[in-house]
Each structure stands twice: as C-alpha cells, then as structure tokens.
Symmetry: D2
Subunit: 363 residues, 4 copies
Amino acid sequence: MAGSVFGNHFKITTWGESHGKALGVVVDGVPAGLNLCEEDIQSFLDRRKPGQSKFTTARAEGDKVEILSGVFEGKTTGTPISMMVRNADQHSKDYSNIMDKYRPGHADYGFSEKFGIRDYRGGGRSSGRETIGRVAAGAIASKILKEIGIEICTYTKSIGPVEITSFDSSEISKNPLYMPDAKAAEKAQVFLEECLSKKDSAGGIVECQISGVPAGLGEPVFDKMDARLAQAIMSIGAVKGFEIGDGFLVASAKGSENNDAFEMKDGKVSKKTNHAGGILGGITDGSPIVFRAAFKPTPSIAQLQHTVNEGCEDVDIEIHGRHDPIIVPRAVVVVESMAAITVLDELIMNMSSKLDYIKEFYS
Amino acid sequence: MAGSVFGNHFKITTWGESHGKALGVVVDGVPAGLNLCEEDIQSFLDRRKPGQSKFTTARAEGDKVEILSGVFEGKTTGTPISMMVRNADQHSKDYSNIMDKYRPGHADYGFSEKFGIRDYRGGGRSSGRETIGRVAAGAIASKILKEIGIEICTYTKSIGPVEITSFDSSEISKNPLYMPDAKAAEKAQVFLEECLSKKDSAGGIVECQISGVPAGLGEPVFDKMDARLAQAIMSIGAVKGFEIGDGFLVASAKGSENNDAFEMKDGKVSKKTNHAGGILGGITDGSPIVFRAAFKPTPSIAQLQHTVNEGCEDVDIEIHGRHDPIIVPRAVVVVESMAAITVLDELIMNMSSKLDYIKEFYS
Amino acid sequence: MAGSVFGNHFKITTWGESHGKALGVVVDGVPAGLNLCEEDIQSFLDRRKPGQSKFTTARAEGDKVEILSGVFEGKTTGTPISMMVRNADQHSKDYSNIMDKYRPGHADYGFSEKFGIRDYRGGGRSSGRETIGRVAAGAIASKILKEIGIEICTYTKSIGPVEITSFDSSEISKNPLYMPDAKAAEKAQVFLEECLSKKDSAGGIVECQISGVPAGLGEPVFDKMDARLAQAIMSIGAVKGFEIGDGFLVASAKGSENNDAFEMKDGKVSKKTNHAGGILGGITDGSPIVFRAAFKPTPSIAQLQHTVNEGCEDVDIEIHGRHDPIIVPRAVVVVESMAAITVLDELIMNMSSKLDYIKEFYS
Amino acid sequence: MAGSVFGNHFKITTWGESHGKALGVVVDGVPAGLNLCEEDIQSFLDRRKPGQSKFTTARAEGDKVEILSGVFEGKTTGTPISMMVRNADQHSKDYSNIMDKYRPGHADYGFSEKFGIRDYRGGGRSSGRETIGRVAAGAIASKILKEIGIEICTYTKSIGPVEITSFDSSEISKNPLYMPDAKAAEKAQVFLEECLSKKDSAGGIVECQISGVPAGLGEPVFDKMDARLAQAIMSIGAVKGFEIGDGFLVASAKGSENNDAFEMKDGKVSKKTNHAGGILGGITDGSPIVFRAAFKPTPSIAQLQHTVNEGCEDVDIEIHGRHDPIIVPRAVVVVESMAAITVLDELIMNMSSKLDYIKEFYS
C-alpha cells in the first residue's frame, strides 16, 4: 500500500489509523520563510473535530497537533514538516460483534482480501480519522495560498433532499452543518433528527469555490488541474462523485449554452459566465474554480444488516456505538484541505512553464 | 508541462499535437511475453477514427499505427513499446480568423497564459487527437487484462436528453453512437441532426463496466482505485464530471438504501446490490466496477460567438470547418483505454501487498 | 525541498533535524504480515548510536524508537509505518561563535543560499542525525530481505591509510570501528588517536556485500540496480564516491581480465569471478552485489579555519564541542540500511516483469 | 521494466533497442520559448556517432534525428518533444553463434532471467545505442543551461594506463579520443592499437566540469545534486564507479586537508580550493561541479571465452564482428547529456525553495 504519498512538489505523506497510537503527516516541499505555528494547524483540525453538535460523534477527541520538525524560530526552513496527533483513547472497546464480519458499505472486505489482515478497531486506516493528516497539511497549503491571494470557500451544498437556496458565506460557520443558508441548515437538522430516530444516515454534497487563481495553472495532459483535483477529492473516503463547473449538467446542455464567452472586464480577460468552473482544457482560466463532491451516507447504521463473516458464512450484523448520521459537515474542511494541497502543487509546477521565467529567476 | 506521464508500473508517456508531424506514446512497464502486433493496436484506434458517420468529422485520417520498439518475434520483451501515428495531412489551412482569438470553451487562453505561445492549428496539444496515444496504450492494457479475465464494456449512456432505457451489449458496435439501445440510438441521431441544423452541439454521458476484477485492488489512501480512475477519466478533454456506482445519487440516499449487503453466492463473497460500483474505501470488492463520465458539448460551433483576442480586444469569432456535433461516440474507446491502463496499474501494484506473496514469488 | 521521499514501492519519507523535537520516518508500502516490534528497529538504531567508543561522540543520546502506526497485534498491516525518535536534549547550547559563519566542509552556505534561512543548531537537517529515519526504515527492509534469503554484510574497509588485509565477518561487531580484521582495527585506532591529538579527522571506505540476491533484479535503463544504489548511497552525507565490483580499477583493466566467465556450478549458472560486483547491464546476475562508498573526513575539526560569514566578511572560525574524528563506523549501518531499502524496492518492482507472473498471481 | 523515465520536471522517457525499427526519446517539461531545430540535436548525436576513427565501429549509421512534436514555428511550445532516429539497417545478420549463449560482461543472462525472453540482436535494449535518446534529450537540456550561463565540459581523463597530464579544452575535439591533452591522446592511441592487435579492449575515465552553477541547487536528503548525478551517470552502460570532487581520495585525506576554506573573492563567496567538487551536503556551493565516471573495457572481445548457454551447458563463445576496443570516447557526450539533464532538473526544482520566490512570481 504505497499509496499514502500525494503531490509532486508540495508532497504529503499521511499515516495512522483509527485506534493506533497516533496519526500524522509529513509535508515535504514547504517553501522556506512561512510563519507557522501549531495554532495555524489547530484551527483547521478543529473544523473536523467531532462532538460539535448532536450530528457529530461525541467522543472526546482532543486532537491536539504537535509540529515535530521543519520550523525554526517560527518560520518554515524548507525541510520536511512532520505533524502528529496522539490518539487520546486507544483502549480498545469490545469489537467481538464485528471483528470477523464485513460491515456493509465499509472497506473491511477489501482490506481483508488485499492484506490478509484487518485492523477491525474503528476501521483502522479506512477510518475518517485518516483525514487528520490531510487537514494538517491542508492548513499549511491554505496559508501559503492566502499569501498569494487565493482564497478557498467550502461548504455544505445539500444534505439528503435539503439543498441550499441562498448563499451567505458568513452563515457557513454559524451552523453546525456548515451551510451558507440558515434556513436550509434548519431544515437539514430536522431531516437528520429523523434519520437518527430511524437508525439511518444521510448523504450530501460539498461545494468548493476557489477564487484568485491565476490563469495558466494545470499540466496537460494527465496532471490537468481538474484531473488532479478529481484524484484528490475522490481519494477522500465516502466520496462517490466529483464534478467541475456545471458538471453532469453539461451532458444535456447545448454547446451554445455551455460555452462561456470571453470578454474584457476592468482591463482583464474574463468570462461572462462560468459553466466551465474555472478550468478549460485542464488549465485554469482565471475565473473561480468551482467543484462539488458527492458523499454517501454514513455506512455505520444501527439497524440490523445482512453480511458475511471471515469464515464465509451469511450472518447478521449490528453495529453499536455512536456514529455521525452524516459525514458531510466534518468533511468540509477535508475537501478544502485537499483542494488547497492540489492547487498549491499545480501553482509551483507552473513556475517553469516558460524559459523566460527560468532565465529571469537565475539572472 | 511535465504532465504527459501516467501510471506507476504500467507507465505511459503520450506526445503529439493536432497538426504536428505525428502523435504517439511510449508504454514503459509492459510485462514480457505478451503476443502483440500492430493489428491489436489498430483495432482500438479504429474505434476513435473520424468519418464513421455524419456525426464524426469527415477528414480523411488514416491513423495507421507503427510499433517502433519493445516487440521481438511477435512478443513483448519487457522494454518500452513506442508507437506512432503519422499525421497524414499537416498542410495548414487558413487559421487567420481564429489564430489570435481565444475560442470559447477551448483551452486557447489558458495555454497562451501558461506558455506565452499557442499552437493555433486545430488546438495543438489540447486537440482530441491527443488521445491517440492513450488509445494505443489502452489497447495493450486491455489485451493484458483480458488474459487475466478482466473485460471492459464501455458505451454511450446518453446524448443530450436521450438516455438509454435498455441494455444490449451486442447493439453497442452496431450504431455509430455506440449505444447499447437501438431505439435510443435512433432518437439520439434525430436529436443530433437537429443540433447540426442549428449550428449547435450536444453533450452526453459515457458509462463503463469492468467485470472480472478481483477484490483487493486499490492503494489507500491517495491511489485508491476510484481516485486513480477519477484522475484518468477527468484528464480526458471535455469531461466535467466523474462518478462511481450510484454517484451523485448517493447524496440523497439513506444509509439503509445505499449500503450493499454482503452475501455468499456460489461459494463466493458477493454483494446483493452494487450501489458502490465495485469499490469500497478505494479498494475493489469483487463486484463489477461501474463508472460514468459527463462530456460537455463540442465547444467548436459554427454560430457567431463573442470573445477576446490576444490584443485584449472584444471581438466576434466564427469557427469554420467541419466539427463533430458530439464528442461522446469517439470518446468511448478513450474512456475504455484510460480505465484499462488504470486498472492494470493497480493490479500490478497489488502484487506486493502481502509478505507471503513476495516470499512465494522468490522461493 | 521535496527530496525526502525515496523508493517506488517500499517508499520512505524521512524528516527531522539535529536539534528539533524529534526525527523519524514514514515507511509506505511495507507488505502485510511481517512480524515487527520496536526491538527490531532499536537493534539497528543502536548500531549508529554515538558514545560507543572514544571515536564517537559522547553525547547521551538515547535514541529510543517508537512505532506509531502500521503494526497491529505484532504484525504489519500493509498501512504506513510511522516511527519516531525524540531528541532527548534540545537545549540549545551557545552557537554564537558559528551561527552566522559558514563552516568549511559543511552545507551551511548552500542551505543559506537555497532557503534564505539556516538552522545553525548542529547542522539542522544536514546533520548526521538525519540518518535515523533511514536506519529505522532499513531495519524493516533488512528483516524482509532476510525472510527471502538475502543477507547484507557491511563493514569498514579502510580508515585513513589503514586498510583491512584479512576478512573475518565475526570480527566486525567486536571492534568499535566495525572492521572485519582485528589487526587493522587496532592500527586504525592508533591512527585515529593521532588525528584526535592533532585536532584533525579522517576519512575511510565502507564496503557492502549482499548475498542471496536472485538474478534479474534491476529496471533498465534509469532504475538499474547499480544506478539506484548509487543514488541511495551518495545521498548519505559525506559520501564522495561510489563504486561497484572492481569499481575504478576497471578503467585500467583489459576486457579479457574484466569479463567474468559464466560457468555451471552445482547446477546453477554462476560466474568464475565477480569483477562485475553482481550487476551486469544494471541487472543482478546472481553473484553477490559488492559495492564501496568513500566517506570524507569529519568536516568539524577543532583547528582554527578560515571562512566567510553571512555578512560576506572574511573571518576565522573555531568549532567547539566534541565531534567524532571519523564518520565511517557509525555510517556502516546507514549504508546497510540504504542498500536494503534499494534492493527490496527493486525486488518488488521485478515481480511484474513477465506476463506469466501476473497471470499466475491472479489465477 | 518501468525504468525508462528519468527526471521530475525535465522528464525524459527513452525507448528503442539496437536492432529495432528506431530509437528515441520523449522529453516532457521543456519550458516554452526555446529556439530549437533538428540541427541542435544532430550536433550532439554526431559526437556519439560511430566510425569516426579506427577505435569506433565502422558501421554506417546515419543516426539522423527527427523532431516529431513540441516545436512550433521554431520554438518549443511547452508540450512534450518527441525525437526519433530510425535504425538504418535492421537486416539481422547471423547471430547463431551467440543467440543462445550468455556473453561474458554483458547483460544477456540478467535479461533472460528477468524477462524470459532476450533480444539477442546486438544486445537489444542493453546496447550502447540505447543512449541515443539520452543524448537527444541532453542536447535540449544543454541548450537551456547555456542560456542560463551554465557550461559543461566533458572529456576523456584516462584510457587504460594513459592519463592526461595537461589540460587544454581546445584539444578535446581535435583528437578522436576527446582528450584535452594531445600527447596523452597519442599515447592512448598506441595503447589501443595494441589492445586491438591482441583482440582485447580497454577501459577509461570520463571527467566532467560544470561551471556557472549557482549555489543552492540540490534537494536533500535523497535528491541531493550528487545523489541524482550518481544515479544519472551510473545508469549509463559500462559505468562501474562515480566520484565527485576528490572522490575516493577523501578516504585517506585528513579533515584539515579536505575542508575547502570559504573566502570572499571579487565580492562573491567562493572557496580557496574545490576538494568538494562544487557540492556540500548535496547542495551546490557555487564552485564548478567536478565528477568522474569509470568505464569498464568493452566486454565484446574477439578472444575465445568460456560461458554458459540457455540450456545450462558450459560452452565456448567467440564474438564476431567489429567492436570498439574502448567505450569511453563515444560515451563522453552521453555523460555530458545525463549531467545536463540532471542539473536542469535540479535547477527547476529549486525555484520553489523560498516562499518569497513564489509570491514574487505570482504577484
């Protein structure tokens, strides 16, 4: 499983599993000279913290990050930054009811087949806790992007059948579901309570807008901006769909509707519309990047389910414990982090696209 | 633009632009001992050949492939396989009406911003002809997969508003739109004629089913099977959305609906349903992999459009010449090729997942 | 500095600097099912531990390793293994005499030019302590290789002018210089005492023999076994030369002398001699791999030296503190570790070289 | 054998074997805006052309290069540059005396073991002709480096026992052995004639000096400048040793002798001596990079040799045909090419080392 490294220049290596000693990330390729402290990371991690509402698990996870290397006198030195979060509570509870059964909707069976061994405690490496490393790295990427004038706004677009109908970015952090529409957030909460009462769970859609991105980023033909974003986002657990701009709607659109006309605006090349979501031919066009990710409902539900055990017998399974009825709110910051990491990586890759750039740099 | 390499073990490097001398691919990491001849490649390339119907451009492109290396006495030797297709016709036509204008929906502006130079002849590297290398490599990957028992079936699921309502795989190659539903294919043709008459174009959806995939493929957490497929497919020009299994529908599903129950069937672990599209936690679960890609309408339309030129002036643009009113049919084999390349790469990566495998191999 | 990742399948990411909080490594791609505990790692780390003799620094560095992830119930799970060693003593001593001066023979100036910032405490990332991560990862690689029947024997071949004249592998661990020749070890100790008394330091050569390597490993043309070993070994601080088999002597040899005749021996293809050092055309030939690395003398010497400071002034520098007069003995295990990591990585890469292998694996 | 790709940003993929249809390279990541024509490449390829003297094979190999993509109107466009050389003469001669025997000193046995198949015609992929792709790519890298003020001077330092004792760069291209010392070149020719008359061959050393390299290049800890150079150079067939600066001599030097004192010179930080060969701690220090590669004697000699055949029988082998008695002269340009590729790649990697660089670039 040498799949825990992502990125070319801003390269992250994540590690850790749900009930291991700790989880973390090594970020290689962080440029020197960035002011960085643990609080920069912590504020990102806190956005994925559980226990913030009744829709997120109540486990007391402190998730305090420690920066172990790569920062000297408050500044990054250009060397790898290692960050770690200790698992506060590794006391294994009783897993006897699930340890030899494949939970529906989970990766248990695949892991067993692949490795011949499975860490049954809370999903092991396939747990949502795996994203701690992503978010810690994303905090650094986001901070760098901000210095360049790139801002990322990520939020819940829909939960089950409840979709936002208005957009007020100041609302996002005011409700536990991270929706930019207070009314929708209320409706969604009612819907989630219903799910909970029925021992069921819900899915939803996360949307991300990245503004301030210069035109020209993206490396055709395989490392196009949208292709790399797709890998980054689809690699997050529970994501089953990714779309950019108008996304799946383009399939039923006409060319005359879908093409965005270019125009001059305030002395700059811009587009009258943004059906493309800021990316044409895999390269940014200067408009905001807009993409969405579809998250499936939490697979751990309290209902009795049918499955198979490691002995290849048909059995029933009942998953105990408190689980979030929805993955989306805590995933918002994960999506934002992966977007930041990807955009920054492409941003750096683009710096050698012209010979003139290189000559000027070394003159 | 060091973005033309894809894959870890089965590694392809594509090259070439629309009106250059030739296009091609180098495939590194092909295992030795595969019977391979040019006809194996040609039959794949012919599926993306233009001029097959009135909905695909009539340009006389022979697209004859030549294998330049890596095959000896009819078998692959384990060394890189270089394949090339000469561009039959490089006589540049008159591009004066578009050479300094950014075509809406195309990558012209991004390329100009990135490289300070743009090959205005037929889109250069951002042309659909770029996919020749992908398809040639895909032909090899598909042939290997077939020997392992993995079959890929790819087809047009919808064109504009016309979606298939039945599935007969034998129909796919019988209509020029590669639809598995003869009636839908007819309707779609009527719809496309209408688009043509209005100087407009249409989008559509390609679906891909991969059967015979063993459980356990995919490398968490960033090289998960679905994440790599997403990158592979989104890197194809004009794709704006990717989804696996139920895709975006999961956002409004309940956990109790979306979870696939495991069951024993014919002595094998299987799933009662396949909402997951064959992938759980980024690892294959033994069910068929099912994914879809949304293609936007051909951006080159004959209507007068508004845009901007390289001198930053608002101008009109009229794109002459014959263009396909729909990208989808010719893209079907491209999607299949990228899927084959990705699955094969993951298949090889998985071979070292257990110590026992390695010990047995070297015993 | 995204240069802290090495390997394709067995992929290590090291981090940490001399006087940071900790140092460590994440090892991605460890196959599942290996018995592994901290003692396996500790025994390797202890071989690079300082304070073992008067020729290695007396600082009290415990260097106790902690395994943070990837091991469950005593076995590797296939997920990344994160290992960490806390720096016992981060109390910065007084660096005022060197903090703004470029130490001759050190990387200070290069780091300053590259990053605009320099961690002057003990060399930061360019310190020998950086190798802790390499050795921890090497312990795992070595353990896996051993299970496949591959053994690595590494030792000091020469120190200054003192070269071994006999070889007894059981001697290696009996003297603090790791020489397989007791008499040479004694002479070398006398020589080193002389160096110490003159405030000077000495270089030396480390030799490595890898036996049990199957023929066929190595991936032409850039990832040949010797090319990857060269990168791995030259990446160790203070190494200025690398040679395989007869090495630089081949330059003055005749073809008739240098060619190793093949012959059948005990029913196996073997070679009468091993001038090639076990590698022909970048691929192993079944004979033991033999290579050497030349280490320069410790650059930190107590003599007064001339240099330049960050203000671009010519100045004198006097480096206080206890430093090893020789790097070689503690580097022996580092060389062995990098060799193990490289050979294991190539071993895994080779598993997909034939189509028949892949077909058999998935049948 | 997915080992035919080298480089991170300036990324080359070589392909082709001795008696295949053609050989070539795809160079990905060439910055846009470089003036480039086939003559730029041809002049490099001509330096490795055979038949230039009696010490290089007389086969009539035209080796005319064709640029197939990536150049438009005389300038690079930023897209991959594909270059190809057709094999003029593929008529297979009679290989019956060697086709099932493992030639001593060659990679035959390793290839057979690895791939189960071997292209016995002229060594296939392990032939020296494989370097055509490297040299074509090196021509581009060198041209870019020149524009930045980096010049590479490569030459033969020794042939068998004959070493240069003077250095006149203008002499290098005046003798067929590429030695910077006319007298040594004469002596070496006498020596080589002797070798020829005895059906024997000779080895030698190539030295390379790279001037104008800015301080700060190299990415610790695994992609250090010297580590990457080592991989690049050791990947060339027949190289058995690599050393930088004083190389193996450092092993017997004292620290006080080996340390290079820094000093201010003409307002710049420089070093009084250059024992380090321009690289400290893996990062360039502004002094010229100096390295050497040891080449073994041509393994194909006309003497009767002992070996083994594919049927595992002890047999004699007699290798017919004309072979160079020395590899070194034709390898000079190969070494220079690999050095150029590596330095350029590191040069680009360094552009993101400081946050200030990135901010300035995007401001």
